[in-house]
Amino acid sequence: MMLFILLALVVVTGGLVTILASNAVHAALGLVGTLLSLAILYVTLDAHFLAAVQVVVYAGAIMVLFLFVIMLLDAARPVSDPNPIPHVGEWAGGAAAVLSGALVLIVSTFRAPRPLEAAEAALRGGAPGPVGEVLFTRFLLPFEAVSILLLVAVVGSVALIRRPQVQDDPVLEEQSVGAGSSAPERGGEVSL
């Protein structure tokens, strides 16, 4: 219980940093803290494979992507001009209070379907083997669909990022390195 309270405090603190920090890099690092302590919570919930995936995919790959884009776009600067929507903070706080109140009310009606010890034994530690068994037997179609979705996402993001104009001839580029390589395509926009 002590460990849970400690981790819950870290999770909530990281979440608060994520939504309140004025510097976007700090927000991203707060989210990294939240994700890492969530991984430890997954271990306490007998989901060892998911804990590893959480650290590798979320805290690793996705957050690196986020930090990269934050620094690329100079999004670390806080937006300072007044918000066009009046009282947005109060509305958001009210919505959050209503939502979390409703969720806590629903949770209060929760009755454990079976004793925790028996349930934990059935999980087999959430090891990669048992989880993979479920994925490849009962969830085979969603698994394949997700793999196609990942392929589409990769192709789609490359297509989105691609510059629309025709690439210059690389041989001609080499001859005029320095003067010609960056100047023509910079029309007031950031070269990526």
Partner: protein
């Protein structure tokens, strides 16, 4: 693992985390930070799923979390690509002015 914290506590933590994500989506004005808050909400849902997986002693929910994580990765890849494209056009990712798709 451990001496079994009740499932309710995990779900309440998940509710708090989801509410934090909701506040972030509503009050943040940079598109990247709105995305970070969406990640917070996805993780809240994942935490609830893992807690319920333990309560029922069934690995189906854990497999669902695996699929949610993959979807989140795809969503982040496409979303950040869109943000970069918007930034190239407008030199800003402030979501207040993004109304090009309004009918």
């Amino acid at each position: 693992m451990l001496e079994g914290v009740n499932t309710e506590y995990y779900v309440i933590l998940s509710a708090i985390l989801f509410a934090l994500g909701l506040v972030g989506v509503l009050i943040r004005r940079t598109a990247v930070l709105v995305f970070l808050s969406v990640e917070l909400m996805l993780n809240a849902a994942n935490l609830a799923l893992v807690a319920f997986a333990r309560a029922w002693g069934d690995l189906i929910a854990q497999s669902a979390v695996f699929i949610v994580m993959t979807l989140a990765a795809a969503e982040v890849a496409v979303g950040l690509a869109i943000i970069v494209t918007i930034f190239r056009k407008r030199a800003s990712t402030n979501v207040d002015g993004l109304a090009e798709l309004r009918g």
